[in-house]
Amino acid sequence: MQILRRNLTAYGFLCAALACFTVFAWYPMVREFILSFQKTDLINEPIWVGLDNFVTAFRDPAFGEAWLNTLEFTFLALVCGYAVPFVVALVLNELRHARAYLRFVVYLPVMLPPIVAVLLFRWFYDPGPGLFNQVLDVFGLPPLAWLDSSSTALISLVIVSTWMNMGSATLIYLAALQNIPPELYEAAELDGAGIWKRIRHVTIPQTRLILLLMLMLQIVATMQVFIEPYMLTGGGPENATVTVAYLMFQNAFTLQDYGSAGALGMMLMIVLLVFAAFQLRLTREDKA
């Protein structure tokens, strides 16, 4: 009882957090699960339709494209968004001067609201007077259609996404790097290890857990990509940037087909759960 009383404030805050999670996270998940088995217009009484919504979602000509685009986006976003921030963090960690300033510069894009970043890139990508094509022109290269071509639209979105999210990832890596005991590096140097050997035998093993965690978190986050296609391309051209999350949104709010949108959401959640389970297992193994 005494322990309970001592922790009353903590329980108070915990209850508030639990209430928020229940209302804004868990209830929608349960509701979506139910929706995926119903045909409903959200006004009249819903009808239970079994797996019909999953079949409808599967038969959608955009279904395969959406999954392929999502996987491609996730892969490209990992190549850029996972490796680049780690390298930047390594460089920042090695710097002796202007470290705080550069940290601020790297983190700056995170502080921009996504809508501003997206509008900025819309101007950068403009096939006419856009900044990127002007830069290409300086180097004598032909202009690109960027968002207006099925072959370049997706990678254009990856660039925006990487730019917007790099700051956070870099700071997390940097924090992990700064937790490595300096004695390990000193010992490695005494043993004659160069920079690559120090990274391979000290940095990577010491940050293994955070690298693993970030990998899984990035997979989970990038597979749900929505803002970039919604704001920049509307899923086009020709479905080239339709992702699973965007298709879900389109089915629900444009086609008013909440059932198949729910089914898509469930499929995406199952895939993400697999990654989450994998991450848990790896983390457990690592701790053991």
């Binding site: 409808t56 509307g234 086009g236 020709e238 709010f253 086609l255 087909d257």
Partner: protein, 450 residues
């Protein structure tokens, strides 16, 4: 400490509860003792159109002064009808007391019981009997009236007369065939970098909307007569896409930028570098009012080679949760702002002083009735632009049969965005495959709708 934390939490909860409840303020009681009502109304112009917004706000103030006890709160969601938020707002019961519904959604909204039966109140609309009967029919089901028709349009070819002159074309003899459209577009694009001969949409449902306009013009259809299957995978549908593909990739007359949604094409038109586009006369109004187009530069002519013209429109409907007093007040507002000759949106004298393009022959919701004639006379009297620029459209509009938008139009438009963006973004686009995929998806959606 624990007590203060509890108090803090309680205060926060109390404050948030108060904040949640503050959306519904009591209306000021009327001087005459009648029951005070507060109504919400859609379609206030955006802050980016300050003069239009001020005119709206002045109308709200004038209306409230003339109707003591009625408080009008405006919402400025732009565009007034947004297909992405319409369904959820409707489902969530979040619609304003008076809200706009496009003709494509009349049946759905009425069937779902989301519009009030206003049969007992139609006398509030003073010119009710002059509204076009075919439009009133559309908002009537089982003898009950559910809306006040507000807008009617049919498609033509909007063109930039200044660019025609600059390209050596005669602006008084605009294209009458698609071959002439292609030739004119090539000449305009030939003016130099950044000039677009012919502008077209490719996303945000507008690509599919314009595909529908074009296929109707060629005599094709979107759905089979029983509305059960898609009918756009047809010679007419292929002709629409082939023409666009050839204009984009063979003639290079459509520019290099995909004009994804409504705003992007309007911005391009307003910049004065787009020669032509399919559209209703209200395109000119929007281009001038919202996107800084020069009013004297634009004209509109008949829909080239059209066998039918997509005609559309919208109506105001009343939230079914409205009390009789609220419903009556909302209809009085609709009558005041949208249906009175010389007032509200038909205050052409004010429109002229605001710099609006007065004289564009848009919105024939009153047809040739006495009210329609009075509106037209007032419009011509206060015209701020050469009315002759629109004469060919008026003549053609009278001869091309109107054709309504398809059932589940917004859903189908979203699906048809894909083939439109396909031919405009990819030189090697397979028109057959694009149409076949869109057909599969459309049939799936139609089957799900039952």
């Amino acid at each position: 400490m624990q007590r203060s934390t509890g108090l803090l939490l309680a205060s926060a909860l109390a404050l948030s509860t108060a904040a949640c409840g503050s959306g519904s303020e009591p209306a000021t009681p009327s001087a005459g003792g009648a029951k005070a009502v507060s109504i919400t109304v859609a379609c206030q112009p955006a802050k980016s159109a300050p003069k239009e917004r001020q005119a709206w706000d002045d109308d709200v103030a004038a209306f409230m002064a003339a109707h003591p006890g009625v408080t009008v709160k405006s919402t400025d969601q732009q565009p007034c009808f947004d297909p992405k938020t319409f369904g959820p707002k409707l489902a969530g019961g979040q619609m304003e007391t008076a809200f706009v519904v496009p003709v494509t959604n009349y049946n759905d909204v009425i069937a779902k019981g989301q519009a009030l039966d206003i049969t007992p109140y139609t006398n509030v609309i003073k010119n009710w009997n002059d509204l076009r009967p075919d439009h009133k029919e559309l908002v009537t089901k089982d003898g009950k009236v559910y809306g006040v028709p507000n807008v009617h349009y049919s498609v033509g070819l909007v063109y930039n007369r200044a660019l025609f002159t600059k390209a050596g074309l005669n602006p008084d003899a605009p294209p009458k065939t698609w071959a002439e459209v292609r030739e004119a577009a090539k000449k305009i694009a030939g003016l130099g970098a950044g000039y677009v001969g012919y502008g077209e949409y490719s996303g945000g449902n507008t690509g599919g909307w314009h595909f529908t306009q074009a296929i109707y013009g060629r005599g094709g259809d979107i759905l089979t007569p029983d509305n059960k299957k898609a009918a756009f995978n047809s010679p007419e549908g292929k002709a629409v896409l082939q023409t666009l593909h050839d204009m984009r990739w063979v003639d290079n007359s459509m520019g290099t930028k995909l004009l994804v949604g409504w705003e992007s094409l309007m911005v391009a038109m307003g910049s004065g570098k787009v020669g032509m586009m399919l559209g209703a006369p209200d395109v000119v109004t929007d281009v001038v009012n919202k996107f800084k187009g020069n009013v004297a530069d634009y004209g509109i002519t008949g829909f080239p080679e059209a066998k039918a013209s997509l005609s559309g429109g919208e109506a105001f409907m009343i939230n079914p949760k409205a009390t009789p007093e609220e419903a009556k007040a909302a209809l009085e507002w609709i009558d005041f702002r949208f249906n009175t000759v010389g007032k509200g949106r038909f205050d052409f004298a004010r429109g002229k002083t605001l710099g609006n393009p007065v004289g564009v022959p848009d919105n024939a919701v009153y047809g040739d009735s006495p009210t329609g004639q009075a509106i037209q006379a007032d419009r011509v009297k206060n015209a701020s632009l050469p009315v002759a620029n629109y004469e060919t459209y008026v003549q053609a509009a009278g001869t091309i049969p109107p054709k309504a938008e398809p059932l589940y139009a917004q859903e189908l438009y979203a699906i048809l965005d894909v083939p439109m963006s396909g031919v405009l973004s990819r030189k090697d686009a397979s028109i057959d495959q694009l149409l076949a995929d869109a057909e599969t998806k459309a049939n799936s959606v139609l089957a799900a709708k039952g």
